[in-house]
Amino acid sequence: MPDIKPFIVTGLALGSIYALSGIGLVVLYRATAVLNFAYGAIGAIGALVAWDLIDGGVPEPVAWIGCVAVSTALSIGYGVIVAPLLADRDLVTKAVATAGYTLLLLGFSLWWLPDISRSLSLPTSDHGFRVFGVFVAYTRVIALGLALVVTVGVTGYLMRTRTGLYMRAMADDPEQAGMLGIRTDRVGAIAWAMSGVLSGVTGLLIADLIRLEAGAITFLVVPAIAAAIIGRLNSLPATLVGGLAIGLAESVAAPFDSISDYRGVAPFLAALLFLVWQGRHTQIQIFTSTR
């Protein structure tokens, strides 16, 4: 049996990233009914902008702010320009349109900065501490801490603030929410902004912890979606747990030779098993409304 302790540390950090992204997806889905496949691509462009700025001699903190700003702008831009035009369409159409946005953004980033090896290292990765003889860089701690804080913080925001209340109302029934005087366009834009900020932050973390590669960051949306599925596209704590579990499973499989190469299938398997388990009593789900 190989020593799996270092892989647990890696897995928790990886899982935190999945969880953070999953929460970014769920918050947006609840408020706007859009499952945003472009979430990863938005973060990827942010991270590449940060790399480009640092490469051009801009101080690091400014570059980080630039990353988050660009990601947020890309998210809000889609949410304000494209999403309203598809507001009365079904869930599949809304999701599929974001797949188009993914291609647009990924095509752009590959064309802008061809996929060669780049790296972006946060200063917190140079320092750390030891637990059970395993070195833990601060960036990993930040990732996990951020995942926990965001889960609690966003849950509190949705439950305690007026905008949060509006978001929950829109999640239940956007038309009625609109009729009751909620500015659904404005609340929707806030959700797109929150999601954009999260994607920018996760983009930076991924660039440091995994790698800075547009394609890789773009498709990290896949485990994030798996985490969101485990949260039934609704529950933030369940999304957090799902993300952490997938990250751990993927990472702990690494030292075992027989399954190591296949660990990337973990998100799909986790989501599939969850659906099978969840649907064990369901014969069929029939929906008459769009939500």
């Binding site: 599929v96 599939l272 789900q285």
Partner: protein, 355 residues
């Protein structure tokens, strides 16, 4: 996506008072003539590189057909059809080196196995609402991407995976009737026509009617005794079967396959391009495949990056979803129907008949 799923082209035929059956015979005859013309013309007209490009285009037209009919008939978006082409290719190569069965048996077997795998993996999602299938197929595409990178494609090695990093690499044999590139192009053309006809046959018979009702309202279909999950699974199995055939034909074309042909993004791009071409008509599926394989080759000939094609695909898909859900083909049909309508109205005005 309720009443609009009916074909626009039906209306003028009835208005002219012609018997639809005779029109269909004429249409089929014209279509087959066109196929013959393409079969003769393309290998004579183009060089080796472009004959190969057009062959690949036809291969992926079969996968595009799966995407198109799932989306237009059932509102299901499958983002894994290129990955399933990879599965079909993998299985075909494995069977070729493992069993040495005749080519067409391998094609059928690998398509059937691909359909089985696709159905097994999508069944849990098919019982839920449509968004779950979209999501699960995206994850399926990413999962197969990982698996292909881990296993490689069989090339004559030993063991279950049949992959060897070095040694004598084997190639898949083409059938004796289609050894040359030109003949293989014609073979793929025939297979693609048969597959399109297979889809058409489904749509004209019982499953087509069931799918139509399910698309109108799952609840209504369920209460009128249609096994909704079974028919949805059937549709997905058919789409996966098409991808499986495409994969086996692709393996025959190239002899060997690699993971880089079946990346997650390729499944997304082909899906987007079927929307752009027009998911609601078979010509749109064909246009989708042309945009998927021939257009990047065209750009490449002019020294332009394929990433530009990716960007265009994404942007065009969004525009289509918003403004023209029926794609290029739908717009052309609308324009020609509008012209015809105006001409008819003009003729009636001459005879003094009021609208």
């Amino acid at each position: 996506m309720t009443a609009t799923t009916q074909s626009d082209s039906v209306v003028p035929i009835i208005a002219h008072g012609r018997a639809p059956a005779r029109v269909a015979v004429a249409q089929v005859g014209l279509f087959l003539l066109l196929v013959l013309a393409v079969a003769w013309w393309v290998p004579n007209q183009f060089g080796a590189k472009w004959v190969s490009t057009w062959t690949t285009t036809l291969v992926f037209a079969m996968a595009a057909a799966g995407i198109g009919f799932l989306y237009s008939r059932l509102g299901l978006a499958s983002l894994a059809q290129v990955a399933l082409v990879g599965v079909g290719g993998w299985v075909a190569l494995r069977l070729e080196f493992g069993t040495g069965l005749p080519f067409f048996v391998i094609v059928l077997l690998s398509a059937t196995i691909t359909a089985g795998i696709g159905a097994l993996l999508s069944l849990p999602a098919l019982r839920l609402r449509g968004l779950y299938l979209t999501v699960m197929t995206l994850m399926m595409a990413a999962g197969f991407d990982e698996i292909f990178n881990a296993t490689g494609f069989p090339n004559g090695g030993s063991g279950f995976l049949g992959y060897q990093a070095s040694g004598e690499l084997q190639r898949m044999n083409r059938p004796s009737i289609a050894e040359s590139d030109a003949a293989y192009f014609r073979l793929v053309l025939v297979v693609a026509v048969v597959m399109f006809a297979f889809v058409w046959l489904h749509e004209r018979t019982k499953p087509g009617r069931a799918w139509h009702l399910i698309a109108q309202s799952e609840g209504a279909a369920y209460s009128s005794g249609i096994d909704v999950v079974m028919y949805k699974t059937w549709a997905f199995v058919l789409a996966a079967f098409l991808s499986g055939v495409a994969g086996a034909m692709f393996a025959g074309q190239l002899g060997q396959l690699g993971p880089s042909s079946f990346e997650t993004i390729d499944s997304l791009i082909l899906f987007a391009l079927v929307l752009v071409g027009g998911a609601y008509h078979w010509t749109g599926w064909l246009i989708g495949a042309v945009l998927f394989k021939a257009f990047p080759a065209f750009l490449d000939d002019r020294g332009l990056s394929g990433d530009i094609a990716t960007m265009i695909a994404g942007a065009a898909a969004i525009v289509n979803l918003i403004a023209a859900p029926r794609g290029i083909v739908g717009e052309v049909m609308k324009a020609s129907a509008g012209l015809r309508g105006r001409r008819r109205r003009g003729a009636r005005d001459d005879t003094g008949v009021e609208e």
